[in-house]
């Protein structure tokens, strides 16, 4: 019994990637294992922790709750796509560094993508809105205070 493979093209961080994947291949696994974009992390595989969050046409999406074959129409942005064109850190990344918003770094990619989208929608969040913006992502290291500070700092840096 051989699994049927689907030849698809995933557009990630502005580049097209042709891959052949089974229908059940999760987008998170396709990004990590087939495309080698291991910046997207898997923390729970049931959509709760948010570590795997990527942007689909700009909208934060749990890559562990989606099949790769369902993402063919979308423009996907992963953490690897958040740096500036000149290679320097993007504003959200820089803000995390400035505010000590990360420790082990495992949940961080999901926060970075989520906040990137959040600041698109609300470029000048209040502190409460900043908390709300990261309210769906789990972090076990930082206690979140510095992550909220990083959201506010990122809004300044943008």
């Amino acid at each position: 019994m051989s699994e049927e493979l689907h030849e698809i093209t995933l557009r990630v961080n502005g580049h097209d990637h042709a891959v052949a994947v089974p229908a059940r291949r999760l987008l998170s696994d396709a990004l990590r294992l087939d495309l080698g974009l291991t910046g997207t992390h898997v923390g729970c595989e049931h959509g709760v922790c948010g570590a795997c969050t990527v942007l689909l046409d700009g909208a934060p999406t749990r890559a562990c709750l989606m099949f790769a074959v369902s993402a063919v129409e979308a423009e996907i942005t992963t953490v690897e796509g958040l740096s500036q064109p000149d290679g320097s850190l993007g504003p959200v990344q820089q803000a995390f560094k400035d505010c000590h918003g990360l420790q082990c770094g495992f949940c961080t990619p999901g926060f970075l993508t989520t906040i990137t989208a959040g600041l698109e929608e609300n470029p000048h969040p209040t502190r409460d809105e900043a908390r709300e913006m990261v309210g769906g992502n789990l972090c076990r290291c930082t206690g979140y205070q510095n992550i909220v500070a990083a959201v506010l700092k990122a809004a300044e840096l943008r």
Binding site: L33, T38, V42, G43, K97, C104, F106, R140, Q145
Partner: protein, 792 residues
């Protein structure tokens, strides 16, 4: 580099990589390579005999490469896993097999191991394995274990793995003649570390060199290496263990070897192909480790001021189905319970008992949260009984600053006397009262009450033995480029070790921070090490790195003195250049010193020409002087006689909703004393994270087992880890810096402090708000609501 970096908020060198998605965690190691993936069949029963395992249906699944059960394990692999920390009182220690043999003792225990071309296929195969079990009665919870109506292990009477007693003075006699006595019965439930990255291991066998390389998401690379070598029958030198980036540990990754840490390398060797295993979240809940569950009985005798005359504690520690990590957690509870206090007499007895549940190994705090809970609940009870302020009762019991070193007359977890090195508890108490507004609180309570709001204030104090031995080591190598390569053997799980260790080296050597690169947890670079636990990394490896850098510096100055024809005492190093003080022209770069340190026959670039045999050296002397080695390196080890004791106090103001019993944090304050701070930003980050875990443990997180030993909330949907909405918006932190006399930097550990007092703290504050005695933690709004009903 003239500014000292010690004590400053240096940004982390780790961050750039991690922020770009360029971290390399264990699940990333074989990305893009043709590696095999493993999955584990786990017992669905908490307690059962295995009658038969049929793997036949699996062999047809396309993509399956191997399937192993106990019968496939040979020699040492067929023996039980190691009991890592034996103790004379652990009379009935038991450990599991890498794959279950005849019997399973918790739901989640590994039964079979499948290797396939990808994880999806491996999981398909696992689902096809047929196992016939004969279910046995499950022993769940401390009450059932103590009742011993059923046994977890047939040959462990009463389900008691260990019974241990320690005492100092005659506590029962002191209690008998004390003017006042109280008795408390307390409960703490199970929680767990739950790092965002679970356990994982990857391995590659090189058949040409007969070498095994293992990557593990571990807190001890050297521990895993020794265990893998012993179990697989390999020479230690044939095994390398490399710790990649680790997505959080918090204790669970110090236990080793996990079954998968042996089975993955075994499969890689047998199959001759790279093999990777990363557990999923459910597996982390049911097959790694938990902690915290204890039942405590406390009898205390005290005088009119609340001074502890006799303290007699008995507790029962639920260690789950097996005891791979020995008695470390209950020993820590039994000793660290004393906190900053000095009872006239103390006796503690514990029983470490079996249940058919996931094993218990250290979780950040490692038994201290339970000890602090017992002690601080007692302090609050004494204050309530005497009608005194809670801070006054604590103050009269403090060890005073002039009483250090203070000997408790007990043996600590490292087998050494429980002797506190330094501290200033009265000063901490003053600071925390100021920070939280303790004296102003009655007025605040009145104002809130006028608005129909109910608030309470709580306080908890702790002392934390950190930096336990036996040792750590470091190697510092100054390359001919002037760059400095540092290795220490313990591992990192996100603490920022590369940053703080580079700070220490830059300061000691006088080189630019940017020129220092630190590697941790790689047995190829430093094969002698212990691991990261007990808030020991800064103290142990920090001290070792400082000492190793000192050695490298001494050598650099010896060589430079000769080259500059100057006296060593007249030299200084700034920005990687050695110069003669007051003579700016006379200087030599450390890179050139490194060239000179290694007499060469063959030049490989312009700089190295100056070290060849016709260019340098006295032709009448050996090129490498007696007692010297080639190369500009320093190596040293740090092995203190005993632990150093950090301390702290937390205070919280909570609001409890009169209708819904919802518990809200209004103010959270921390006074923390970990000696000198290497990097205050990192220390405060550790406190923030610890407090969040503490809030989770006190108000939200619990492992909910049913009577059959099934974990009912084994997912992030149902195990309520705090999101940002559950933690205090801000934490007010004040530091006291009482240096440790035990190490060259005067530092103490800081990693666990944030989580230690939480259960005690919230119990204190909620009790204060509600006027109802709180004796069981964690406490949810429903629990509080029920308590209110019971106290109507």
């Amino acid at each position: 580099m003239t500014t000292k970096l010690f004590g400053t908020k240096v940004p982390r060198v780790e961050d750039d990589r991690l922020l770009r998605g360029q971290g390399r965690y264990v699940g990333d190691v074989f990305s893009g390579q043709d590696a095999l993936h493993a999955a584990v069949l786990r017992s669905p029963h908490a307690h059962a005999r295995i009658l038969d395992i049929d793997v036949e249906p699996v062999l047809d699944v396309e993509g399956v490469v191997a399937v192993y059960t106990y019968d496939d394990l040979e020699d040492a692999m067929g023996e039980p896993l190691p009991l890592l920390i034996p103790h004379p009182t652990l009379t009935h220690g038991r450990t599991q097999y890498a794959l279950a043999k005849d019997e399973v003792n918790y739901a989640g225990e590994a039964v079979a191991f499948v290797v396939a071309t990808d994880r999806y296929v491996a999981e398909d195969a696992v689902a096809r394995i047929r196992v016939r079990y004969e279910p046995l009665p499950a022993v769940v919870g401390i009450a059932a274990s103590r009742a011993a109506e059923h046994l977890v292990h047939d040959d462990v009477p009463g389900n008691v793995g260990a019974r241990m007693e320690q005492h100092n003075g005659d506590a029962p006699a002191e209690i008998a003649k004390a003017p006042h006595t109280l008795t408390l019965d307390l409960d703490v439930e199970r929680s767990a570390c739950t790092p965002l990255e679970g356990r994982g291991v990857a391995a590659r066998w090189d058949p040409d060199q007969q070498r095994l390389q293992v990557w593990s998401s571990t807190q001890t690379a050297t521990g895993v290496r020794a265990a893998v070598a012993a179990k697989l029958g390999l020479d230690l030198r044939a095994v390398d263990v490399i710790t990649p980036d680790v997505g959080g540990g918090f204790g669970v990754k110090i236990n080793h070897p996990w079954p998968e840490e042996l089975l993955v390398p075994l499969a890689a060797m047998r199959l001759g192909r790279p093999v990777s295993y990363v557990e999923d979240r459910r597996e982390h809940f049911v097959a790694s480790a938990h902690e915290r569950a204890q039942v405590q009985h406390i009898e205390v005798g005290f005088d009119d001021e609340g001074r502890l005359l006799g303290l007699d504690v008995m507790f029962w520690h639920d260690h789950g189905a097996y005891t791979p990590y020995g008695l470390i957690v209950p020993i820590i509870t039994s000793t660290q319970l004393l906190g900053p206090y000095k009872p006239r007499a103390y006796r503690v007895v514990f029983e470490s008992i079996y249940t058919n549940t996931v094993i218990v190994t250290p979780y950040r705090g490692a038994g201290r949260p339970q000890g602090v809970y017992a002690m601080e609940r007692t302090m609050d009870a004494i204050a309530a009984y005497l009608g005194k302020d809670r801070t006054e009762v604590r103050a009269v019991n403090f060890i005073q600053p002039d009483e250090f070193p203070y000997e408790h007359g007990l043996v600590f977890q490292d087998g050494r006397p429980l002797t506190y090195d330094s501290g200033d508890y009265p000063a901490s108490l003053e600071k925390i009262k100021q920070l939280v507004g303790w004296d102003e609180f009655p007025q605040y309570r009145k104002e809130m009450a006028a608005q129909g709001r109910r608030v309470g204030i709580g306080l908890a104090c702790y002392v934390e033995g950190t930096g336990v031995g036996p040792y750590e080591g470091a190697h510092v190598h100054i390359e001919t480029s002037g760059k400095v390569k540092v290795a220490t053997g313990l591992t990192s799980q996100g603490q920022g070790h590369q940053t703080v260790f580079a700070q220490l080296v830059a300061d000691e050597l006088g080189v630019r921070f940017e020129d220092v690169e630190v590697v941790t947890g790689d047995t190829r670079r430093m094969p002698y090490a212990v691991g990261t636990f007990a808030s020991r990394a800064a103290v142990m490896s920090g001290s070792a790195i400082h000492l190793a850098a000192k050695r490298a510096k001494e050598k650099a100055l010896r060589i430079a003195a000769e080259a500059l024809e100057a006296d060593v005492d007249d030299l200084e190093i700034t920005d990687g250049v050695v110069s003669v003080k007051g003579a700016p022209g006379a200087s030599i770069s450390l890179g050139t010193v490194a060239v000179l340190s290694n007499p060469l026959r063959y030049a490989f670039d312009e700089a190295s020409k100056s070290a060849t045999q016709f260019a340098v050296g006295d032709p009448d002397k050996p090129p490498v002087a007696p007692g010297e080695e080639p190369g500009l390196e320093g190596k040293d080890f740090y092995s203190p006689e005993r632990s150093t004791f950090a301390s702290g106090m937390h205070a919280v103001i909570v609001e409890t909703d009169p209708d819904t019993a919802e518990i809200t944090i209004l103010k959270y304050a921390v006074v923390h004393d970990c000696g000198h701070l290497i990097n205050p930003m990192i220390v405060e980050g550790q406190i923030h994270g610890g407090v969040a875990q503490g809030v989770g443990g006190a108000l939200y997180e619990r492992m909910v087992y049913d009577e059959n030993g099934q974990l009912q909330n084994a997912s992030f949907m149902d195990f309520l880890m705090p999101y940002v909405s559950e933690v205090p918006e801000t934490i007010d932190i004040d530091h006291l810096e009482t240096p440790s006399p035990l190490n060259p930097l005067g530092i103490k550990g800081a990693g666990e402090a944030g989580v230690i007092p939480s259960a005690a703290l919230f119990a204190s504050a909620i009790e204060d708000a509600e006027g109802i005695e709180i004796t069981a933690m964690p406490i949810s709004p429903s629990d509080l609501f029920t308590l209110r009903e019971e106290h109507r």
